[in-house]
Symmetry: C3
Subunit: 311 residues, 3 copies
Amino acid sequence: MTRAATLVAATLLGAVALVVTAPAAPAAVREYWVAAVPATWNMVPNQRDAIMDVGYDPSETVLPTVVYRRYTPGWKRPLRNVPRGSSNQDLIPGPLMHARVGDRIEVHFKNLDRVYRRPHSMHFHGVGYKPSSDGAYLPGYSGRDADVEYGRSYTYVLHALRTSVGVWPYHDHSPSMEESIAGGMYGMLSILGRREQAPDREFVVVMAPMGRFQTIDGRAFVGNTPVFTSRPGQLVQWDVMAMGSEHHTFHVHGHRWVTADGTDRDTQTVGPAESFRIRWREHDPGTWLYHCHVETHMMQGMIGIYRVTQR
Amino acid sequence: MTRAATLVAATLLGAVALVVTAPAAPAAVREYWVAAVPATWNMVPNQRDAIMDVGYDPSETVLPTVVYRRYTPGWKRPLRNVPRGSSNQDLIPGPLMHARVGDRIEVHFKNLDRVYRRPHSMHFHGVGYKPSSDGAYLPGYSGRDADVEYGRSYTYVLHALRTSVGVWPYHDHSPSMEESIAGGMYGMLSILGRREQAPDREFVVVMAPMGRFQTIDGRAFVGNTPVFTSRPGQLVQWDVMAMGSEHHTFHVHGHRWVTADGTDRDTQTVGPAESFRIRWREHDPGTWLYHCHVETHMMQGMIGIYRVTQR
Amino acid sequence: MTRAATLVAATLLGAVALVVTAPAAPAAVREYWVAAVPATWNMVPNQRDAIMDVGYDPSETVLPTVVYRRYTPGWKRPLRNVPRGSSNQDLIPGPLMHARVGDRIEVHFKNLDRVYRRPHSMHFHGVGYKPSSDGAYLPGYSGRDADVEYGRSYTYVLHALRTSVGVWPYHDHSPSMEESIAGGMYGMLSILGRREQAPDREFVVVMAPMGRFQTIDGRAFVGNTPVFTSRPGQLVQWDVMAMGSEHHTFHVHGHRWVTADGTDRDTQTVGPAESFRIRWREHDPGTWLYHCHVETHMMQGMIGIYRVTQR
């Protein structure tokens, strides 16, 4: 009863609650051209854990793997792996895909994994789709969407529904899922309401183990993990998710955020394939830490720097 | 303050929010006759993991254990272990016990564990009761409720309170708790509001390790775990809980649900003895996967099929 | 949209929702004098697990460590480690620090760790502060706040903001963080709204591993963990947090509480550095168990007694 009442309260007050910042754009078709491509990945490019003052040899930190990368139409040419409006450098997650409620998203996927020649796929959370765009391997039921062979392509058709507002994972769900996710075949969708204000800064934070390290976006230890930046007055948004087999607690120093239930938090659990977005209007200049508060994870590299500068 | 405000909002709007689908039934006494009985349990009856294409020998998958089973009054005759309205086959969890707010529930429990002759008990979450119905062993304090010897019986008296709406675990909390829970001595309560609509389909999902596998209702891998079914238009309810020592993330493909805080999710953390119910009006025909998104758990069997058919 | 609506509902109804129990006190400055001091700690003073009937030798349960302890102004004299209004005995967590929204908190910290002579610090969750009071070690950026040498002191200046209502961890975040937290260098802040009612009973519950045990406030097994007590009619508050690398599920027998989203729970996940407060008006006399429902944790000692007596 209390639960239902809360939802009704939300509905009755919905018209008031809408943060109308822009006229509703007409529903769009958003096309993404993505490929699975081999990569030689260094989880610790500066070869050290600066906080514990420990060095690492490249033999411990470099890993051959396969990642999702964005391409120009027809997979003619790879695009730089830096989402617009993000502070991300070249990192493990595939392209951050944006849409608004009502949009249709078409993801044209091609398997260019010429090294391992494993099958791959894309499985999307949060959006609406028919079983033929599910991308999850189930013998006797699933089709080509779940088992895209090397050299082949497949187009996933997705719908940003009213229930899709938020941030969501996508990842490989083909027969090679286990190795592929361990190697970094994941990325995020970010869906806004029809008239919802877009953030000034949007940070992708994927918490996942990789080899012997605990990584953020495929990097371990401050100086390697992304340095997120903003200025006072900006609306910042953190897109947080986890992949793998462990639960994490995402923490940002010197800040708090309001969760959907109205409570203020500065630390929040996120388990495998869970995802949430965190927003605040920035007003705390400084060089801050963000990290997983699971201590062993923090010690294995799951920590980075968030810098708020006046200028 | 925000938190308190949310609750008041819920209260003020309560009268509007009630989904009144039936006249309030008079408060009832619900009696359940349950026994702890030995069972020889096969976690993987078809002896294979169809997705990874791996076979298992019965020597790896069969386990002698003790489970809760429903009986006719006076423990005269065991009842089939298939809750009405559920898609469950014969599975590990004890009977799904239903009540509405205001009801008194009497659970008559008998220890028929003639194989191990261990003490057993029943401890119920979510409902109101006196210490004498707690069922939890504490030397110097607890009574016969917590330590029912082989051949003995005990009646637990429980109250479905206004704070009891939802789904809840019950499980052994006697001196044999550790082995008994590992072997499957658990089940669920499902409490509706006085006038709340009952679902058309109700699925019990207990996520728990068993031997070397990660099971749903005591079964591992698609083809062994329950195949839940529904039709478009039906109100489906998933009763999800975990037992054991691990956290899980429950995920259903192609669907989202609204959590109590108003956010839409398709993946949700559930830790040991946590429980939640998920509801939606079905409208997505197809053969879908549901699974724990903790990857090692999924690979060890915590995955099943949910089928929505037009006819 | 639903999320925003809920927040607006909360805001609109805020005036009604305020539980006004006292005139707003003028904002205060709250000073705490705290030191890091060596301690020889016995996790199992009665040397036994009463539930499993197993004995332990002091060689297995005693640990030399460093803890936070409250002092009189100028660190002249240590104060008894028993927060007012709490049922805590001498336990591992440092002083429970109280404030109300609008207050300024000054924590004067001195490193008296004469045994190990490690650097130490205090990092506070939930409150507002400048980077110079962050207390977290980051080479090249952090200052003396994050690396207080033996014999030195530092004053942290904290602000109880509107977003600070609730309970929060504090802990060592210096270069010795890993060993220091494992040894118990943590405590809690409890922030009330300006006019919010203070509880009659307030219980600090820190769930953390220590050596081979899983402890509550540094103690393992019933008879060693704190015995919390209350009377019917009292407003009781549980301040729950976790430290370390594991997730827990906090459970109290025979009781339920309302979470911020309006749902009733009797079991709730808490991960490292997460924290929440639980409140209810007591009306269930009896000797009850509270424990972590992760079974291995419960078996390793994370369980205690809550006693509600009529008199």
